[in-house]
């Protein structure tokens, strides 16, 4: 591993200014992804700026009845927070479905949103990879891609974002608060991460060096009945091969409002807006749920090794929506 400097900072301004002084510095959250990638030689920063000592460790209620989660809030504290558990249960469930206790105790909210793909070529520096080494090619398309994207991918990259938390957040209209240079900006999570296109190395729409200061969730009554469901290859401690966060509001047998997002299907936490639009106003019935999932999945471009995900995500969607609404099968 390359030798690097380590610096603690106590305010946001200093963190951003310090990062700007170096050509190759990174913010350090819990280190559960970054340190890992440094050991593998994928990341080779010369300076780490520790953001866990910033005053961004609170979860506070906001004027609009929502919450603001500080970027340095640990995953385990987020999942244990009573307001989150009550008003945004899918968020707590998503966090608890990820990693292990001793990792969640370290991992931060900001770091979780920024975590890199688990594509096995990306983490192997002896292999080509457009995301790690732009222009070197993408061996995943003809190689190992069983857990890579079925939606929004490009010929240059088919990686998925592995975050569980981001899926629940994007379903519930989360907004990411960032500091870029001297200015603060709020970006809806739906617009925060980029699809690969021809620049898979660019993963967000904010400036390089932007610091996430927090994530806010609006006051959203529907979120109180939200749920997260994750499919993985063993019962615990594995990344999703497909996941969903959803919430449904029903009145007089009709779906009056809904939120649906999918994980492990794209480079971004995938907000299923087509499925939502399709479902609003429809009767609470298995057929409506299946039609909504299918509407979203018309855009799917599965490959040989990950085609199973289309059926998987459709089934888990129907299943969870049925569970949430009590629709009989």
């Amino acid at each position: 591993m390359r030798e690097f400097g380590y610096q603690q900072v106590s305010d946001v301004e200093t963190a951003v200014a310090t990062l700007a002084t170096s050509a190759d510095a990174r913010y350090l959250g819990g280190g559960t992804n970054l340190v890992d990638l440094m050991k593998l030689g994928v990341e080779t920063p010369e300076l780490l700026i520790d953001v866990t000592t910033l005053p961004l460790t609170d979860i506070s209620e906001t004027a609009d009845g929502g919450v603001l989660i500080g970027a340095a809030v640990r995953n385990s504290d987020l999942a244990a927070n009573p307001v989150i558990r009550q008003r945004y249960p899918a968020v707590a469930q998503a966090v608890l479905a990820g990693a292990s206790g001793q990792l969640r105790n370290l991992a931060t909210t900001g770091g979780n949103l920024m975590q890199r793909t688990r594509c096995s070529y990306f983490t192997d520096v002896t292999k080509p990879c457009n995301k790690r080494a732009p222009g070197s090619g993408c061996p995943a398309r003809d190689g190992e891609h069983h857990n890579l994207a079925i939606l929004g991918a490009s010929e240059h990259c088919i990686a998925t974002s592995p975050s569980d938390l981001a899926v629940a957040l994007v379903a519930l209209d989360a907004v990411v608060h960032v500091r870029e240079g001297d200015s603060a900006r709020a970006v809806p999570l739906t617009e925060f991460r980029r699809l690969p296109g021809d620049r898979p190395d660019l993963e967000t729409t904010v400036e390089p060096g932007a610091l996430i200061t927090g994530v806010s969730l609006p006051g959203l009554p529907i979120a109180a009945a939200s749920r997260y469901r994750k499919v993985r290859e063993r019962a615990s401690y594995a990344f999703a091969i497909g996941s969903i966060a959803a919430a449904v509001e029903v009145s007089g047998g009709l779906v009056t409002d809904c939120r649906i997002a999918w994980g492990a299907v794209a480079a971004v936490p995938w907000r299923a807006t087509r499925a939502e639009a399709m479902l609003r106003g429809k009767p609470v019935a298995i057929e409506s749920f299946a039609a909504a999932a299918d509407a979203e999945l018309t855009a799917a471009e599965p490959l040989e090794g990950n085609a199973y995900k289309v059926a998987l995500i459709r089934n888990v969607t129907v299943e969870l929506l049925a569970e949430l609404t009590g629709a009989s099968r």
Partner: protein
Amino acid sequence: MRITTTVNGARREVDDVWEGESLLYVLRERMGLPGSKNACEQGECGSCTVYLDGIPVCSCLVAAGQVCDREIVTVEGLSDQQGLHPVQQAFIECGAVQCGFCTPGLVVTAHDLLARTEHPTDPEIREALAGNLCRCTGYEKILDAVRLAADRLAADRLADIRAGSSGRLT
């Protein structure tokens, strides 16, 4: 740099530490505490689990520079003058130790679980230990050990309450 921390209740100072080296390395190579094991160094196996300010973490992912003035408890710190902690004793008695590489991490994780949950159910034990991988035992004996330790800790607590003392929490 110089690192000052509290380890297993004692204040420790070490000099000439590179702030980027792992807490696991500092414990094992600089402080002579080889209990925490170095298996994957990537957060995947849990064999390096220690308490940092009372919370279990993978010490292979924590940088030395991050632990100044903080409190660390390793597997070595769980026993006292009276002997092994009930969790440690139960691991021995139940045959939950084969090669032993995963054991220190599992003992710390199980210790944390039982400090928070008096009578964990089997699914709770499984979920709590999910971040600790063992390649030898098949986990059944480990589950036995956690159940045995839970029973003994509960019995100890009851005895303490009957004797009028405040009860052992950890």
